[in-house]
Symmetry: C2
Subunit: 155 residues, 2 copies
Amino acid sequence: MNLDPKTDLTFTRTINAPVSLLWECWTTPKHIKNFFVPKPHSVDDCEIDLRVGGRFNTVMNVDGNQMVNEGVYLEVEEGKRLVFTDTYSEDWKPAADPFMTAIIEFEDDGNGGTTYTATARHRTSDARQTHEEMGFFDGWGTVATQLEEYAKTLE
Amino acid sequence: MNLDPKTDLTFTRTINAPVSLLWECWTTPKHIKNFFVPKPHSVDDCEIDLRVGGRFNTVMNVDGNQMVNEGVYLEVEEGKRLVFTDTYSEDWKPAADPFMTAIIEFEDDGNGGTTYTATARHRTSDARQTHEEMGFFDGWGTVATQLEEYAKTLE
């Protein structure tokens, strides 16, 4: 994949859980609620229609305020790659001011764990910078740690 | 499909050619060049990678000026539905200021022809209005007429 350092943010780390389990966590509403936002923030609701163009809607709870996020999947390659975005809601309705497109990649690391790559692509370098200042690396890193800890409880 | 009259433009007409032929025209660069823009404008180049996320790039020639348009396919449902947009280029790189998402639908009309529906979805009502004022109905209608005439030469 060709990334653009001016507009993209990405990191790769190893997660000590198998690909199949991480895939299940990322694609099931009841699991999403357990890792998708850094605690103490939480996910109040999550709806998933796991197909290209299908909805990935979440309601996050940040300090008691609900934030509704509507999105769709752009790619669903089981056990390999999940692409989603707030650029569209269902039926390819374009959002007026979309923020980002997320690409989550999973690869068996040969030791029972997963090489996990999370990428956020943005429309502009300003959006990238805003996301970095919002705490992309801390935030998405915390999500990866929460995912690892939660996945352990399912093994 | 749920459309939004504030941001979408759409029309349906019958084209006197079978679905399979219209699908082939819409998904093959050498055919695209024969109908995709209202004459006397023309298509100087077209690249297609016919899969979700694959490129649909065109170079149009308008009064001698080349206009490069990079896009991708969002849905490729053979003989039924083709969705493409300038919202992304390949590898899901978001465009800074995308214009529209096009949905072309084909349905056998039972008489050897095709019920053809072309829809353009926009991010805002302003973008919709701009597109209408640019001549959406005349322009896309002309494209449909050119498609019908060109398809006849292939039968």
